[in-house]
Symmetry: C2
Subunit: 136 residues, 2 copies
């Protein structure tokens, strides 16, 4: 994976965008979480539903996540690879978060994340996220 062609500046911009977004998640900062996202974002999240389309539905997936997160929120990038062209890019990542159990204990959770981005009005914009854990 990694950069494609002459895309190093785009790769650096995308890396910074994703790291800032993950930092905003850890801070429960909704303005930061939504700052670089398309109004039409298509979200495939870990819990149901099958899909969430649009920024309002996307924001609700974070309400749900925070409702089951310990404090402080854990949302760490363990590995990230960026494939960036000049207009379209995608990012693959292995992530770690934590979930608060009903008995008050905390479970660590490894998950997979794919992010799709398009350059819109000269700004990299997140148009797709796919978060998941293996089934079964």
């Amino acid at each position: 994976m990694g950069a494609v062609g002459k895309s190093r500046p785009d790769e650096a911009a995308i890396r910074a965008l994703i790291e800032n977004w993950a930092r905003a998640v850890r801070a429960k900062n909704f303005d930061g979480i939504l700052a670089k996202h398309s109004n039409d974002i298509l979200m495939f999240d870990v819990p149901p539903p099958l899909q969430s389309q649009g920024i309002d539905a996307y924001k609700k997936t974070w309400d749900l996540f925070f409702s089951s997160s310990p404090n402080p929120v854990i949302f760490d990038i363990a590995r990230m690879d960026i494939s960036a062209g000049e207009e379209v890019a995608f990012v693959t990542a292995l992530m770690r978060c934590a979930v608060r159990e009903e008995n008050g204990s905390q479970s660590d959770l490894e998950f997979r994340l794919t992010i799709g981005l398009c350059k819109i009005s000269d700004q990299w914009t997140v148009t797709h996220e796919h978060h998941s854990i293996p089934a079964g």
Copy 2:
């Protein structure tokens, strides 16, 4: 989502690539399944493991899928959106397959699919797939 900028020919090429790949899955045709895939493909599949890296590990995920599939195999694209630049593209899809249960019955399964592609030696090449169902 949809095409970006002047990418219509790329979008058409990618649509054909994905449709041919899905047809190869339905036919259990491994040459067709692997034909447009990178040796370094990173696969996030529905069942464990968390990730499968490289074409040999990718091929094994299909052995596992076919071992639990009914005949004929169901692997249908319900909706597909393509974001294609000139060098990098990603595809989001809602998919349907079926799983054979232990009692011999068959369960339909809706799942989400994200595919990442890079143009390598002027050929669109799949470098990433992320298949999942919602957890819980």
